[in-house]
């Protein structure tokens, strides 16, 4: 290639932190990190975004928890996890000692829970950022999902910002299941978000026509995979058009370097890989390589140079 003697800069930046690769794992799609580390070195990743962790242990939902759909899948895990204390005691040290950069995804049922998760993370050394998953039901407001309510979204982010201190980058993960994602993005940016993660799953459902009931025990589930990529591209494009300076961690159906580049050209600065890990445990390594090759073929000297280029024409 023409670029063979020219250094290619694959980095991305959220808040004050640089990440050496633009390919991350998506929250809830990489286990504890340990499982994937048997297939490749976690250092390959820009960062591991952990499964969303709660204050207390959670059993998650009953099974069946998944259903395959055309070019996608539904999941209803229900945020199963050990709670923040055990997580900080076990998962985080393991990840750090294995050279993974770590972005901790947090989820709460009240503003206070987000605040207390942020406080717990404040002192933790070695982590590179927080992803705030606000696609959770707000028990204080009739179970309405935070991410669907601009006021609640803003309050969560303000409270995380206040409690985590000024250093750790805060990336807020939005739901596409809203009438106006740009206005929600605006609220959380005003509240102090350093970046946005787009998109979480779409609410969906599948019915077993033999058992004549929803396939998932939890009835509805989150739709992910290539099926939703056009929605992700649209959301990223709209939000990037409105807020050019806020870095976006793009995700939703990315399964190849071409897909990743599509989201980057729409406005994402880095990409999280979710569902693709399930079908191909080494997909992140492949996608990273494919992406860098595509960027070089197109004479980009960095990932950053390609961010949002689809807006220019």
């Amino acid at each position: 290639m023409d670029n063979q003697f020219q250094a290619f800069d694959p980095r991305c930046k959220f808040g004050s932190k640089f990440f050496p690769s633009p390919i991350f794992t998506a929250s809830g799609c990489a286990g504890s990190g340990k499982e994937l580390s048997q297939f490749f070195d976690l250092d390959e990743l820009g960062a591991v975004v952990t499964k969303s962790i709660s204050v207390k242990p959670r059993s998650g939902r009953a099974t069946p928890r998944m259903a395959e759909t055309p070019s996608g899948m539904l999941n209803s895990i229900g945020l199963q996890g050990p709670g923040i204390d055990q997580f900080l005691a076990e998962d985080i040290p393991w990840l750090i000692s294995n050279n993974a950069r770590v972005i901790v995804s947090i989820s709460g049922e009240t503003i206070d829970e987000y605040a207390s998760l942020a406080r717990k993370l404040r002192g933790v050394s070695g982590i590179s950022g927080i992803e705030v998953n606000i696609s959770c039901p707000n028990v204080e407001n009739r179970g309405m999902v935070f991410a669907c309510d601009p006021v609640a979204s803003k309050s969560v982010v303000e409270s995380v910002r206040r409690n985590v201190g000024g250093e750790l980058p805060i990336i807020v993960k939005l739901s596409p299941d809203v009438t106006d994602i740009v206005s929600i993005a605006g609220e959380v940016i005003n509240a102090g978000a350093d970046g946005l993660a787009l998109i979480n799953t779409l609410l969906g459902m599948a019915i077993d026509i033999d058992a004549m009931r929803p396939k998932l025990a939890g009835k509805t589930g989150g739709l992910s995979g290539p099926a939703i990529r056009p929605v992700a591209v649209r959301a990223i494009y709209q939000v990037h058009a409105a807020f050019r300076n806020i870095p976006i961690l793009g995700m939703g159906g990315v399964a190849s370097g071409r897909d990743a580049l599509e989201l980057i050209m729409a406005g994402a600065s880095a990409i999280s890989i979710g569902t693709a890990n399930f079908g191909d445990p080494t997909s992140v390594v492949r996608i990273k390589k494919e992406l860098v090759d595509l960027l070089k073929e197109r004479k980009f000297s960095s990932v950053a140079a390609a961010v949002g280029v689809a807006h220019e024409k």
Partner: protein, 286 residues
């Protein structure tokens, strides 16, 4: 934190044979080194549908047999029921077609340290991993009896060569088309009694495993079962495949059947938990 099977790797494997046997397809794959590390109870996860498929998840299949050297190098054999779109695609493949395979995955059947009388119970294609298990048990000097059940004769998978390593084979079919008319659980107490079985190994539909577990626990027998819960990844990263299982301190936890299973201690599993989380499960507040 559990680890996936230490020997798991991802590779392309050529199909060497694909034969229809009753309701199933017996398929052989050239799987190289992977074959050497397969233990009875382990499974593999295979991509289905080919490039451009709308099926994005792998399908899990119990390993029927694995042999680490032969004309084609290491081979892995599966027994596949053409059920839905993914398995029908797989069984429609031809010799020389290549599939992408991850394995060996999951836990394997525990083998008694001392010779013991074992009763192996399989439902439908659940017989697949039991033949390899029978061989190992036999080598260890165990008595091995087997019961296979299915709805009809075509769904009993019991090849000749497999039968060699069992001391007795009982067959039940719900329609009475072969063997005894009825379900495996009807003949189980009698067989346990007759053969002096000390440990039960099982593989089949969850309802069958639950019914077997009732018998084994009422008789105080060990019960190692290979469960089957819908799996999106097979390698422990998605949390879809969980079932409630008591850990060593008696706490019920939603446990990944792809990593801490598929073979589990039947006595530790909370049965009949489909579509509900058992009361008292760690972290359950519903």
């Amino acid at each position: 934190m559990s680890l996936i099977n230490k020997r798991a790797e991802q590779r392309n494997a050529e199909i060497i044979s694909n034969k229809k046997v009753g309701a199933y397809h017996h398929m052989v794959f050239a799987a190289g080194d992977m074959a050497a590390y397969c233990r009875p109870g382990n499974f593999v996860a295979i991509s289905v549908g080919g490039t451009g498929s709308s099926m994005i998840l792998r399908r899990a299949f119990a390993i029927y047999r694995a042999s680490d050297r032969g004309q084609y190098g290491g081979t892995i054999e599966l027994v596949v029921a053409p059920h839905g779109q993914g398995s029908r695609w797989l069984t429609s493949l031809e010799i020389h077609d290549v599939v992408n395979i991850v394995g060996p995955l999951g836990t394997s059947f525990g083998i008694p340290t001392e010779p013991a009388a074992a009763l192996l119970v399989g439902g439908g294609y659940g017989s697949a991993p039991l033949f390899g298990l029978a061989e190992v048990l036999k080598e260890r000097g165990c008595r091995v009896d087997m019961v296979l059940g299915a709805s009809s004769a075509g769904k009993i998978y019991a090849p000749l060569e497999g039968k060699r390593s069992v001391n007795s084979l009982t067959i039940t079919t719900e329609d009475g088309g072969a063997g005894i008319k009825g379900r495996v659980t009807q003949v189980l107490p009698g067989l346990i009694d007759k053969h002096g079985s000390e440990i039960i190994y099982s593989c089949g539909p969850m309802g069958m495993l639950a019914a077997i577990n009732e018998i084994s626990s009422s008789l105080g027998l060990l019960h190692q079962c290979a469960v089957e819960e819908a799996m999106a990844c097979g390698i422990g990263i998605c949390m879809t495949c969980v079932i409630p299982v008591k850990d060593s301190s008696g706490v019920i936890k939603m446990t990944r059947s792809c990593i801490d299973g598929p073979v589990m201690d039947g006595a530790k599993v909370i049965w009949d938990s489909s579509r509900k989380v058992p009361q008292g499960t760690w972290g359950f507040n519903g």
